[in-house]
Symmetry: C2
Subunit: 365 residues, 2 copies
């Protein structure tokens, strides 16, 4: 399902193709986040226009609302949300143990309190895969356990072992035809545990691998170090997906280590907090100096917002709490990130990824 097209001669960066039942994803690729079946404020056509090839939704959130019954009757998430390209679904395990679900983890699965009815339920690796079959995503992620950054060796080891056992149970569930299933590499920032987890999950022969447990608070240098030794443990013919990474610097660093796929709510969340990403760094568009600035947000950007509106107009919209502000800012930030990732792919195929990365990062303070 993953085909390696070209590896940059001077770095580990690679260009490839991931085949899904909703089309080919040219990698490296960045996925906007559609946790509840919508990329906040945007319609699919706007996302296609900026070259979005896939998005990621959240199986646990969808399970809570609208629920599996609705998605089954709707004919799956693609149909429900009017999205024709690839969809990844995260298991939701990460969200469950970080939010107010009064969770408890046992070997069986994750027990949580449903905020809608106040009752306790169990979410197991099997339920998780079955839900994703109902959702009909192109790529399902197995349920894993991601301990918080800073957990000690024995805690990380125990949850890593559990992640492996859960992956084995997920593997035991009969798959949807054409749905790919990715396992998630854990092991914290301990090289030995990362290695063991990778070896065991690779031995189970999944369709691809998420790299989990990163971008959760650890210093950047540590994330980059883990990527350098962890990514090469995934076979060359499997896609590598770094979960939750979306800043330009982190993306480019990870692409250089051989990561293929990314997702992050960072561009859209930034947008809703009036932070616009530009080739010269972040711009807090609410600052008074933009009230009379009639340049586009980024002179080098070809997005709908930059082609048609000024900084002064976006400033005005944010100041007046107009909803169009969030929409235009989301379009801009996602377009900005997609442009970097598309530029990276082109650079890789021409063996100039290092120069490309250097050039992009020069703009950022």
């Amino acid at each position: 399902m993953y085909e390696l097209i070209h590896t940059d001669k001077n770095t580990g960066a690679r260009a490839g193709k991931l085949r899904t039942k909703h089309g080919v994803i040219n990698t490296p690729a960045f996925m906007p986040v559609a946790t509840k079946g919508t990329v906040k404020t945007l319609i699919p056509e706007e996302l296609y226009d900026m070259g979005t090839q896939a998005l990621i939704s959240n199986a646990f959130h969808l399970f809570l609302s609208p629920g599996m019954d609705v998605l089954r009757k709707a004919g799956g998430l693609h149909e429900f949300m009017h999205w024709e390209r690839a969809i990844f679904t995260d298991s939701g395990g990460f969200q469950m143990i970080r939010k107010d679900f009064h969770f408890k983890i046992t070997d069986e699965g994750i027990t949580y309190k449903n905020p809608r009815d106040g009752k306790k339920y169990s979410y197991t690796p099997e339920i998780c895969i079955n839900n994703q079959k109902t959702i009909g995503s192109d790529i399902a992620m197995v349920l894993d356990e991601c301990p918080p950054y800073g957990s000690d060796y024995s805690a990380v080891e125990a949850s890593m072992e559990r992640t492996i056992r859960w992956a084995g149970r997920a593997k035991g569930v009969e798959k949807n035809e054409d749905q790919l299933v990715f396992a998630i590499l854990q092991g914290g920032t301990f090289a030995e545990l990362r290695k063991k987890c990778a070896q065991e999950l690779v031995a189970m022969d999944f369709d691809g691998y998420g790299i989990g447990g990163l971008s959760i608070g650890e210093p950047k240098e540590i994330m980059n170090e883990v990527l350098r030794y962890n990514v090469p443990l995934v076979p060359e013919d499997r896609a590598r997906y770094l979960m939750g990474v979306g800043s330009p610097a982190e993306l480019l660093e990870a692409i250089g280590s051989g990561v293929d796929i990314f997702d992050s709510a960072f561009p859209t969340r930034n947008a809703r907090h009036q932070t616009l990403m530009t080739s010269k760094g972040n711009m807090d568009i609410a600052r008074g100096k933009y009230a009379q600035d009639f340049a586009p947000v980024d002179e080098n950007c070809g997005c709908y917002a930059c082609k048609n509106y000024t900084r002064a107009y976006l400033h005005h919209l944010f100041k007046e709490s107009e909803l169009l502000a969030l929409r235009l800012a989301s379009i801009h930030n996602l377009h900005f990130i997609q442009s970097i990732v598309h530029g990276a792919r082109e650079a890789i195929t021409e063996d100039r990824f290092a120069e490309f990365k250097e050039k992009v990062l020069t703009g950022f303070p």
Copy 2:
């Protein structure tokens, strides 16, 4: 500037053309409201797609923010908000005396407290026209005084007299080339005062006439009665604009009395309050029965939302407070109203407006 094309043989409904510097408006026409330089949640292209020919913004709100200095430097409101078709600007007098501006009305103008700096300012008929010249709208409205519904005869008479004096002062300000200026007919629900106001303002020879002081709380029958005797007092070769009316029944009634132009925040405000307008009446999309309803909002509607999404999806978006809900609902409601007004125009040209009106209203409870 206004050309009468055809009057329906059986009613007072008329089809015409209003020429502006940003194109011809085929009437009857409905204008979405862009108080602060944005039709909430939408971009111009979405409004063009549903046949929107003009919108209305608010000179007083724009004066407060972004301010005349920004709009002058931006090259006017069209350029600022990326809108290529006609723009009407309301004076804002109606908003000033109904909101928390600590206003005081004298013959000179309206004194108000600017909520941004807490200071008192005066807003006069001359300032009002000059601001609209800076904004560069296609149609400027003169400053008027609209007493609350229920005011007694002498109060309504006094404010009507003031409205006439203010219109005279507005008329004395040198016009922008190509900008049309409309006066506003007042006189409450008193036939005699309405008549006097119309006669005096018509004698001043404005480019068109707003019908003010209606849809402010009076019973529907009274509004319709006023329209029946007030509209014919406007010369046939001048556009008649009924301000603040946007429900299907009121629109059709007013069109039948010879009104040409309408504006209302009703469709977009309804949308943001999860009320969808359909050919069978209003739909509260948040109701549980829509959670598993996979039909479009309105089977007969050709809007983007109805072509691509189900009631179940919109229900889900509203339940989860997703911003896309407001956007899709706004598209639907505005498209719905525009379709009625476009249908009315077609019916008028074929002398079947009464049947058209009857047919549309049959759907509404």
